[in-house]
Subunit: 344 residues, 4 copies
């Protein structure tokens, strides 16, 4: 059994890790930490866990964390970087669901996150945890930067085309729609139901932290520096990301060739599912499931539209983290991750 | 023109007062105060007011407020009571949308609101601002305690029966459902959309501040001390209160007699509308309107169920406050209040 | 492996049965029928099942159904009764998620469902499938009447008190709130989002088909004929039932005694969870889980309020059906039913 | 007083016309027709109109309609075209909220709407009812084609740039998000709350009827044939359209110059409001109001993003229709249209 811990277990990625890890056949969850809630039972905080979880929150204790096989950081940026070097030195593997190790360049991190990177010495060995593109590297890594929710949906949707150099580089647009849980479990007026229900708005149009992350990864996959117009929107719903991705073909392709490209690329992927050409996936079709649904369109010759949907808390966070853990420990990649989406 | 001011204009009752007062034909809105937002334009805070409101928030200034005809307090409890005596002495009429003057007994206030009443000398002259039952007194008052949202829906639904002594006194139950805006525009984790959407729960079942208010008014109307089981629930919606009211008849009545009682009682009321017997009003039918819809049922002989719906921010707060203002200044009671509900 | 079939698999109870049966370790799902969709792949109809279900809908074929171990009817009332006698004669066990066998009296059925009962000869042997109260009988039955969603929540909440004769018989009220999926997957204007979102209304206050079902079962459990005021409400949410149950104690009880009664009664039940006294369960805490959360209150001496929440599609339909199946075939009662609720 | 009628008054544009026309100071609403509901009171169908509307639905009667000053068609496509020629001949002005006269080319109409145009003889004189671009022509017209909801939001957002030839012609993308009321008040499974709430999906990506409408108008305004990638999405909300519009500048422009272009263009428009550069309008800021909020962004030099939000039932339908009526009859353009949006 893999002995696992969670640092920062009171947010939405924390409770989602618990939902998926507690019944995982190969994992023993040993500790879950929260300074604010130390001593409180986890299932008092999250009643959905009653009967499934006997743990109480503890203050983070390096002596205990240092004995574990793997620690998940479900913390805001700036936390994991302070603990990572020591834990790595003690042989603990780390999966950071925050942003500390997603950007390979410490300067870029500082620019977008407003703080100097405090663990640059391990930043270089961090592996971007998107198994569909970095599977082998993940298996050999000690430190996983679990991708952001938007980047997961966008990269999975655009990469097949960009990896083959099939898109004009200056035409990439990602118009993304996210449920409110993507903003975290935090006490902000702007997130309360009367402010967010029955309404839609964009945010961060001028620049959002996930843009440099997406651009870095897509540039890496395509082998050429890429820029993307990234527009996030807040949706009046709990979970789900819908990425509507636009590009122009560098040369003509038939619909069939486009579909074949995606179908072939993801044929053996357990958690990417390419729908028939011209489909319209709904976020509810992946609610609670570690799955990315992709559909390709070519409304006019040369104009490609890719639709990519995930559950931001599963394939966009906790589910993908467990997928990475499975690889780190040479388990079946889908171990503990075969939940069927909750529909309706 | 009535020169009016609003103290505490950054919450939901504040913006709703603005929506209704700005186009009111007899009102000049002179000042709106907020310590936190002083200097900021109101329409930056509430973009729906762009083009309709040129005011900026100011810090509350007694010198200015003292020159007004009427001041609305859209503040948490404990604020109006500190300003009321001085303003009243200066001839300003006060309509408090908070709870400071709703409970006639300062001891009961202290018990339920956790603070001593700091203006007991004016508490006695406060008039409960439910025009359907205290119309004459309101016209002569200087200080109006605008009713709570739940009490408005519950009292309007039960009072016709209780005023005639037609219900057994120990069988009163008010099972109430409210939209989240009833909890105010405040930064609380428990109110964010992922916590409140797509879910229903009760709260305060053991005791809620609106219970003593309802009991005091219904006791007054019926002329006998009454107790009520009051159960509020939080609904996954923005606005609206649905009160489902249960009682047992003290003596048999036909359906027709029941219906006639309500229809007659409210026949000349502009803002209470009795639907045909056995109807099922929806809160959306009063969204944005100063209206209470009531329907009466008698599923089994002797068992009465009254359904009463309002928009908690209009008939349950700002609209009713303006209805009271209209009476205070001898205007037509429906002046500025004839908006049609927004459906869908 | 139990060879199972589903008749009528295109509605919400159908897809929920699929979600739970497909990964069930002891079940082989052999057939799923739909006249309208015969020939279509199930996962085209319900994309959440892609990768989990290779079945296509077939027209209902008695020759195939007759060879199965168990058939679930997820059909409107009036369908199961036409097939049940023959299938029972062939040794097939039947679990009807519809209403055909819930009311023990064919006359009462005719009165509430507007049709004569066409299988009165097997009605007598139908067992009401609420394991918490009819566990032994279920194990020995051939024909299970799976309870309605409202009845499940109401009976589990009131039965502990009524079984002991602790409530005054004429004071029972069940004020119930249901998500829209409870109305089925049907093309009705009254169910479309612009009619149901951001609004609350009651329906069937004068009488609803679940009332005689609840009354029959509670009368059976208490050993005395009982009447209940039952008021269903439509909530702007997808799933979930919140039952707010009112009664008056026949004799004084302490809060501790009340709590102890419920805690003891359900101590060994895998799918009923009694929260600490005075709790307020939310429907989201059971979203997707086969669980009933119960909390007890006594706001004033003698006045009991019980809160009971379920997911109407799981403990209120498909999950309970599988719980019944598990008993029918002597499996662990929780086999395939340990999903953790999806929160947020 | 203008004597007005509505043909087809049982849908959402119908009830919204009623909400706005009933209190309109210059309009007498004489007739509202519905074959299906003839004889029923309108306020039984739409309870929000109780106390505001004494009309009953009538079957459409040419003898009555022919005596009116103006008739609004709130009907599906294919209805207005059968009545228009005769009514026009009788001197009645027509405002069609459907699609019959929006496309200037009868062939294109037939291609997208699947029926031959049956009134080509009057199609040529139909005026596209977007006052911001066709104000003078509207004043002189007899037959107004009221724009579609998406086209209104998209055209108002893109036209200032296109009218000046400032965008590269092959880069136009409109990624649009609409509330479910945009799909009409119709009994379709795909629109019921459990199918549409808490989920987002695109539809019609390969081609939608509003695309040729937008392209025709933008081509007219810009003086050059334009193509647009138009992607509509269904949002889990009742009302509102959010258009996210992408284009590339033909030549560099500063942020200030961009903002100035929009601010100047719409400076005197009563119903288009240009927010400060870089703003993020929310659809709830225009809920119930005849208003289009626009904000301009330039995330990277040359890449323009325009955000344009409307209420699909007001500025996107009924409100705009009344704005057109006001012009037809030389009233103040904002007569009856100054409602403040309902927020929250």
């Amino acid at each position: 059994m893999i002995r696992a811990g969670i640092v920062g277990g009171t947010g939405y990625t924390g409770v989602e890790l618990l939902r998926l890890l507690l019944p995982h056949p190969e994992v023993e969850l040993v500790a879950i930490t929260s300074r604010a809630e130390a001593g409180q039972r986890v299932d008092e905080h999250f009643p959905n866990l009653r009967g499934h979880c006997n743990l109480s929150y503890t203050a983070p204790d390096p002596a205990i964390l240092g004995t574990l096989d793997v620690v998940f950081f479900a913390t805001p940026h700036g936390v994991a970087m302070d603990s990572a070097p020591k834990l790595l030195a003690e042989g603990v593997r780390i999966i950071d669901l925050g942003a500390d190790f997603r950007l390979p360049d410490a300067e870029v991190f500082a620019q977008w996150y407003g703080m100097a990177h405090r663990a640059p010495e391990v930043l270089g060995e961090a592996c971007y945890g998107l198994p569909e593109y970095y599977r082998t590297k993940i298996s050999e890594a000690r430190l996983i930067a679990n991708p952001g929710c938007y980047p997961t949906a966008v990269i999975l949707g655009l990469a097949p085309l960009l990896a083959e150099g099939l898109l004009q580089e200056d035409t990439l647009i990602a118009d993304c729609k996210s449920g409110v849980s993507g903003a975290g479990r935090s006490a902000k007026v702007g997130l309360i139901l009367p402010e967010t229900a029955d309404s839609v708005s964009a945010y961060g149009v001028g620049g959002h932290r996930h843009r440099p992350e997406i651009e870095a990864v897509l540039s890496d996959i395509s082998g050429t520096p890429l820029e993307l117009q990234f527009t996030p929107h807040l949706m009046p719903m709990i979970r789900g990301i819908h990425a509507t991705l636009y590009g122009r073909l560098a040369q003509p392709m038939s619909d069939a060739a486009l579909q074949d490209l995606f179908a072939t690329r993801y044929a053996s992927e357990p958690f990417v599912d390419v729908l028939p050409f011209g489909s319209h996936p709904a976020t509810r079709s992946v609610r609670g499931a570690n799955m990315c649904l992709i559909a390709v369109h070519q409304p006019r010759p040369g104009q490609v539209v890719v639709l990519s949907v995930i559950d931001n808390l599963v394939k966009g966070a906790a589910g993908q983290a467990i997928q990475n853990m499975n690889r780190l420990f040479s388990l079946a990649e889908d171990a503990g991750l075969m939940q069927i989406a909750l529909l309706p």
